[in-house]
């Protein structure tokens, strides 16, 4: 089993006062390169913890995580930083743009630390924001801000694009367009995309759907023929 991403017996235990709480109670799954993966689950199911660990923001308590042949779970802090820096693109629910920087500068912020960044203008064009590069976040709509965030994540030319409820703060139509952008990105660029959502309706669009419940995997669904965003309704 040599998949692109592989979780084996991953546990995460938080200590809350006197007792330990298992956010992840032993998770095993694999993701192939270039797959569009949906991780779904209700609040408290362990989605965020999984994302934190996969995004290199937190370390697992036990278990191994492999990524492109490297063992993420054994990374030092420094290697973790490099991992975030070069290999992962992150799209936040609340966009997390730097308010004081223009759209283009926000993208630049990420690309300047990348090892092999994509040309900024090309990325901006691909997310459909070529016209608005000089605007500040406060001058952009929510969808536009999320596009900037996606552009920022893509500009690093990452191996893995992690999206945390990317449509959570957006209205229906804008959310659809963002999902479409993500799906296209996966198809066109061949980047592995992992989207975390509580919205079960989105599941059909993933190549693989991982359902979480109470820190355990409830179900892994491989979907050989994912649906395009345009065909989804919720």
């Amino acid at each position: 089993m040599s998949q692109y991403v592989e979780f084996a017996g991953v546990k995460k235990v938080y200590r809350m006062g006197e007792q330990d709480i298992e956010a992840l109670a032993g998770v095993d799954f694999g993701i192939d390169k270039g797959q569009f993966v949906i991780i779904a689950g209700a609040s408290g199911a362990g989605k965020s913890t999984l994302l934190n660990i996969l995004g290199g923001m937190d370390a697992a308590s036990s278990g191994t995580i492999q990524l492109d042949g490297a063992e993420l779970s054994s990374f030092s802090k420094r290697q973790m930083v490099d991992y975030r820096r070069y290999d992962v693109g992150f799209v936040f629910q609340f966009y997390n743009l730097i308010p004081n920087l223009t759209a283009r500068e926000n993208v630049e912020l990420a690309s300047q630390v990348g090892r092999d960044p994509l040309p900024i203008d090309e990325v901006m064009l691909s997310v459909g924001l070529a016209e608005r590069v000089r605007n500040f976040p406060s001058q952009l709509s929510g969808g536009e801000q999320q596009r900037v965030a996606i552009a920022r994540a893509l500009a690093k030319n990452p191996k893995l694009l992690l999206c945390d409820e990317p449509t959570g703060a957006l209205d229906y139509n804008t959310g659809r367009s963002i999902l479409k952008l993500l799906q296209e990105t996966c198809r066109v660029r061949g980047i592995t995309v992992v989207v975390i959502t509580h919205n079960i309706a989105l599941m059909p669009m993933g190549d693989k759907v991982i359902k979480l419940k109470s820190g355990l995997i409830e179900e892994i669904v491989n979907n050989p023929s994912p649906v395009g965003v345009d065909d989804l309704e919720w």
């Binding site: 965020s48 934190n52 995004g55 923001m57 937190d58 930083v81 490099d82 991992y83 975030r84 820096r85 070069y86 992962v88 992150f90 936040f92 629910q93 609340f94 997390n96 730097i98 308010p99 004081n100 920087l101 223009t102 500068e105 630049e108 912020l109 990420a110 300047q112 630390v113 500040f136 976040p137 406060s138 001058q139 920022r152 690093k156 945390d164």
Partner: protein, 1079 residues
């Protein structure tokens, strides 16, 4: 009670965010502490001094009169309303020399009560030993700055420091030290000017009043009824004392004129006597000089005659020798001719003689042949005769024999004739020979005679030549002796003449001085002086007042920073709590009630901070400042006076300021409707900043520099808070470190650039011209001495706007050398100033104190008692003490007297020889004091060190200020930008990059603030220098480049330090924060 809920919410808020609370607390504590501390210093200083004055009964008023005070005067003073007691007394300045240093002592009299332990005015505080009881005992000042080298049990010898001795002033000149004292009258180590010695009183001593022989009292000390209960620095005190002063001054006018007439008459009589005496001695002198001159010229004439005789004798001798020499030459010639002739004659004779000898031989043989023939013939004749006589003979035979006889007779005859011929031939030959022989003999005789004559002549000449020089030498010696004797008496005469002239000139000068003195008596005055005229009292009071001035400067600044810190902090706090404000509003709380929470938060912080601040400040700062000033004063330990109004007021003002500020911060939000408040606040929009319009410049900035610029201009309040706070820090540092720059440099300036001499000698006042020449000669011969300049250096008194100012008046006797010893120059342009032929050059600080510029006139007196108006012709750079420089011409014009050497400036080529030279001069009794400039600079360097406490206090304040402000800024920055920081961490920024992203901004602000602070620091430094400057020192406002560099460096260091402290917090921010929703 909603307020209670709000208050507990506010208090809980404090627990939740201690850093925020602490930053407000700290800045208020620093501001209030500094303000109360520094402001409280002056009252504490004054209170301490007042307590000291009261305890030792310092006089309130001191009355002096130019003509002294008599018992009637004292009685009159006693009867004036408001006078509690009068204590008449004496004082006089004397000098004493210990090792090679001359000290000026002011001797004060002690009333009889001092020896019995009673109360009296201006009591000294006994430090060790006992008070004088017997005659010839004294107590001297215990001065920790001057190591006198005398202690209890030692005897000190005092002298007047003037040409007159002390015998009319003090009972003895030997005083035994029985104790050491300090006095509230002498708080400062800097003392009143004196007209003797170095020109300033160094120390004081006290003796019983019986020791003074003055016919009149020199002063009267007065205490005012009810004055002791008042603080002597208060207005009430000065009003009370002023009323008594007014009455005493009126009394003075009456009393003084009464005494003038008799004294003036006495003095005039004495002057006239002196003038007559001078005239007599002048006539006497002239007569003596004339007599001496005549004697001297007689001796000279005689000497000349002797010389002439000797010269003619010498000439004769030369002639005689010449005659001899001619004769000898002639004689020698004739002798040699005679010898030649003789030789010729002799050879002629010899050849003749030899010829004759051969002829004579032939002749002799012929004669002997002839003789033989004759003899043979004769015998034949005889025989023939006999034959003839023989009768037997035949005729024939006879005829034959006859014939034979005839033939023989013929032969005989022939032979005889031949013999005769030979004989005559012989004599013919021999005669000329004998003639020649006799001639030869004659020539020999002549020759011998000539030789004899030559020898005689030679002998005569030699005899003459041998005897004459000795005779001449004897005559010469006699003459030389005569000459030496003549010169000696001429020198003696000249010396006597000069001495006489000097004595006469001295007499004339004395007359002129006496005339001056009498002229000065023209306006007799009483001086009624209050405590402010006591040098140390005035100096101390102005020091305390200067502290007050500084107190106004700093805290205003600290309060401004406190307000800014509070404003930014509270604004941030309100921002964070929009939702809860909205909630309160929605719950129906009024705006005032909500504001109360924030206002009370600030109020609690400022009341606590203020209270802690003033409590610490009032304990710490007055003591630090007092102790550092105490190095310059002789004071008891500080006594604290209660200053509740100040403390309460400080806390109240601080609290009001901060609550008002926090209300201003919260007011905006209160006007908003709850719905707006419940929604997250639209993040402060980024916008294009002004700098971006300068495209060329903006493009050059790196990406992260652009981000920094945007952030800086986005939060203007924080920008100002930080820049102002940091600027304050840098300014304090510049001012603090600049203190030692400015003060430290004046020594090198004064003693390196301006004064170019190593030793200053004050000649003994009684030195004679000959002794002075001896000193100069001695110095000129010393290999360690490079040069010497004679000066007239007088202790001058200049009339100042308030008090008289002591200065040194210097006239170089050699103006060409003067610039090598003292450089007169303009401080700003550095152009040299030449000594003017008319008018004086004064030093810069003196000009500043007097408020005069070039062309103005100053009023000064230089020992004669007469004040003269002098025109200022130049103002020269100078840092320590006051000097008035004038040329000889100018001096003569002003004082009608030629300046005389009273001091020497010495340049050394070997500085290590200075003590030896000084001791030699002192030991010879020709120098009164020797001042080593290297000692002065060492001593001053020590004083500068005493500033370190103040400098440290300033550096620490600066550090606290920078720390609080930067901590606050960084703290707000972090808490406000948690999401942003978490996000960039998720984006893969390394720790260093995250820190740079956040800190670049605060470090840039620190840098900007630091630079601004350097400018502010220059101003602050000037203000401080101006307020601590002393009367006779000019500090200038020099700040070294190093100070600027290190101020900026230290400021940046604080910035970096805060960054380091905050680094953990920064790194500790969890990336998960980026996932949270906007509050």
């Amino acid at each position: 009670m909603p307020r209670r809920a709000m208050l507990s919410d506010a208090l809980r808020e404090i627990r939740r965010s201690p850093a925020r609370f602490l930053s407000i607390f700290a800045i208020v504590a620093i501001g209030a502490g500094l303000f109360a501390g520094i402001k409280g210093t002056a009252p504490d200083m004054k209170y301490t001094a007042d307590q000291y004055y009261d305890q030792y009964r310092m006089m309130d008023i001191r009355v002096l009169s130019t003509l002294g005070l008599v018992p009637d005067d004292i009685a009159a003073i006693r009867s004036v309303t408001g006078v509690e007691s009068v204590q008449p007394g004496y004082f006089v300045d004397v000098t004493t020399t210990v090792n090679s240093t001359e000290f000026v002592f002011r001797v004060h009299s002690l009333p009889a009560a001092a020896s019995t332990g009673g109360q009296y005015l201006n009591m000294p505080k006994l430090v060790s030993g006992r008070m004088p009881v017997n005659a010839g005992e004294c107590v001297i000042e215990a001065n920790r700055n001057i190591s006198l080298g005398l202690g209890i049990g030692d005897t000190m010898t005092v002298s007047s420091g003037k040409s007159e001795d002390l015998s009319k002033t003090l009972a003895t000149s030997q005083y035994k030290i029985v104790g050491t004292v300090v006095s509230p009258y002498y708080l400062t180590f800097q003392r009143e000017p004196s007209d003797i010695g170095s020109g300033r009183v160094n120390l004081f001593m006290m003796v019983g009043e019986r020791e003074f022989l003055y016919p009149v009292y020199t002063e009267a000390l007065v205490s005012v009824t009810g004055a002791r209960a008042l603080n002597s620095y208060s207005t009430e005190y000065s009003e009370l004392v002023d009323s008594v002063i007014g009455r005493l001054e009126n009394l003075g006018t009456e009393r003084a004129s009464l005494r003038l007439a008799s004294i003036k008459a006495d003095a005039t009589t004495k002057l006239d006597e002196g003038k007559a005496e001078l005239a007599t001695s002048e006539a006497d002198y002239n007569k003596q000089i004339a007599g001496g001159q005549a004697q001297l010229s007689d001796a000279g004439n005689k000497l000349a005659a002797g010389r002439a005789t000797l010269d003619s004798q010498k000439q004769n001798y030369a002639q005689a020798i010449a005659g001899y020499d001619t004769a000898i030459a002639q004689l020698s010639t004739s002798v040699s001719q005679g010898e030649t002739q003789y030789a010729q004659a002799k050879s002629a004779y010899d050849s003749a003689a030899s010829q004759l000898a051969s002829v004579s031989g032939q002749l002799d043989s012929a004669i002997s042949q002839l003789t033989q023939v004759r003899d043979a013939t004769s015998r034949q004749i005889d025989s023939l005769q006999k034959q003839l006589d023989d009768p037997t003979l035949t005729d024939e035979q006879r005829v034959q024999v006859q014939a034979q006889l005839d033939a023989a007779t013929n032969l005989l005859d022939l032979t005889n004739r031949a013999m005769a011929a030979a004989g005559s031939a012989d004599s013919a030959i021999k005669t000329p020979l004998s003639t020649a022989q006799s001639q030869l003999k004659q020539a020999a005789n002549q020759l011998n005679a000539a030789r004899t004559q030559l020898n005689q002549t030679r002998a005569a000449r030699n005899a003459l030549a041998a005897s004459a020089p000795a005779k001449f030498a004897a005559a010469e010696k006699e003459l030389a002796d005569g000459q030496a004797q003549y010169e000696a008496s001429a020198a003696a005469f000249d010396a006597k003449k000069t001495d006489g002239a000097t004595a006469l000139r001295a007499g004339q000068e004395k007359i002129i001085r006496s005339e001056d003195e009498i002229a000065a008596m023209a306006e007799p005055t009483w001086y009624v002086l209050d405590r402010t005229k006591v040098y140390s009292y005035a100096d101390y009071a102005s020091t305390a007042d200067r502290m007050d001035a500084i107190a106004a400067l700093f805290p205003v600044f600290f309060f401004a920073v406190a307000a800014l810190v509070c404003l930014t902090t509270m604004t941030r706090m309100v921002d964070e709590q929009r939702t809860s404000i909205g909630t309160y509003k929605a719950l129906g709380y009024s705006g005032a009630a909500i504001a109360f929470k924030y206002v009370s938060y600030a109020a609690v912080a400022s009341v606590l901070g203020g209270s802690v601040g003033v409590a610490v400040g009032i304990r710490v700062f007055p003591r630090i400042i007092f102790d550092s000033w105490a190095m310059m004063y002789e004071l008891p330990p500080m006594s604290e006076t209660a200053q509740w109004p100040l403390l309460v007021l400080t806390v109240v003002v601080a609290t009001m300021l901060l609550t008002a500020t926090s209300y201003a911060a919260v007011r905006n939000e209160l006007t908003a409707v709850p719905a707006t408040l419940m929604r997250p606040r639209a993040p402060k929009a980024g916008k294009v900043i002004l700098l971006e319009r300068f495209t060329a410049l903006w493009r050059r900035l790196s990406f992260s520099q652009k981000v920094t610029m945007r952030n800086i201009f986005r939060y203007k309040k924080r920008f100002f808070m930080t820049v102002v706070g940091v600027a304050g820090c840098a300014a304090l540092l510049v001012a603090g470190l600049g203190l030692s720059d400015s003060i430290g440099r004046i020594v090198t300036r004064q003693y390196g650039d301006i004064f170019h001499n190593d030793v200053n000698v004050r000649l003994a006042p009684t030195i004679s011209a000959a002794d002075e020449q001896a000193v100069l000669k001695q110095l000129a011969a010393d290999p360690a001495v490079k040069g010497t300049l004679e000066l007239s250096q007088l202790n001058a008194t200049v009339k100042g706007p308030d008090t008289d100012i002591a200065a040194t008046m210097i006239t170089p006797l050699d103006e060409r050398l003067f610039p090598d010893y003292i450089r007169l120059r303009d401080r700003v342009t550095q152009t040299p100033i030449a000594l003017p032929d008319s008018g004086v050059v004064i030093t810069e600080k003196l000009a500043k104190v007097l408020g005069v510029k070039v062309g103005d006139r100053i009023t000064a007196e230089a020992g004669s008692g007469i004040f003269k108006k002098l025109t200022v012709a130049g103002i020269t750079e100078n840092y320590l003490f006051h000097y008035i420089y004038l040329s000889k011409a100018s001096y003569l014009e002003m004082y009608r007297l030629e300046p005389t050497a009273s001091g020497l400036m010495i340049q050394l080529s070997d500085l290590s020889a200075q003590n030896r030279i000084g001791s030699e001069l002192i030991a010879s009794g020709r120098a009164a004091s020797v001042f080593y400039y290297s000692d002065a600079s060492d001593k001053f360097a020590e004083t500068v060190k005493s500033l370190n406490t103040i400098i440290w206090a300033m550096v620490i304040s600066a550090g606290l200020l920078a720390f609080v402000v930067l901590y606050n800024l960084t703290n707000i920055n972090l808490s406000e930008r948690v999401r942003e920081i978490a996000t960039i961490k998720v984006l893969g920024f390394r720790n260093g990059e995250v820190a740079a992203y956040v800190y670049r901004e605060s470090l840039l602000l620190t840098f900007i603030g630091g630079l601004a602070g350097l400018l502010v620091g220059i101003g602050l430094h000037r203000a401080i220098m101006a307020s601590i400057e002393q009367d006779n020192i000019m500090f200038g406002d020099y700040v070294s480049g190093l100070t600027f560099l290190s101020s900026l460096g230290i400021t940046l260091f604080f910035g970096v330090l805060v960054s380091l402290v905050m680094y953990r917090k920064l790194i500790g921010i969890k990336m998960v924060e980026s996932l949270k929703s906007v509050e």
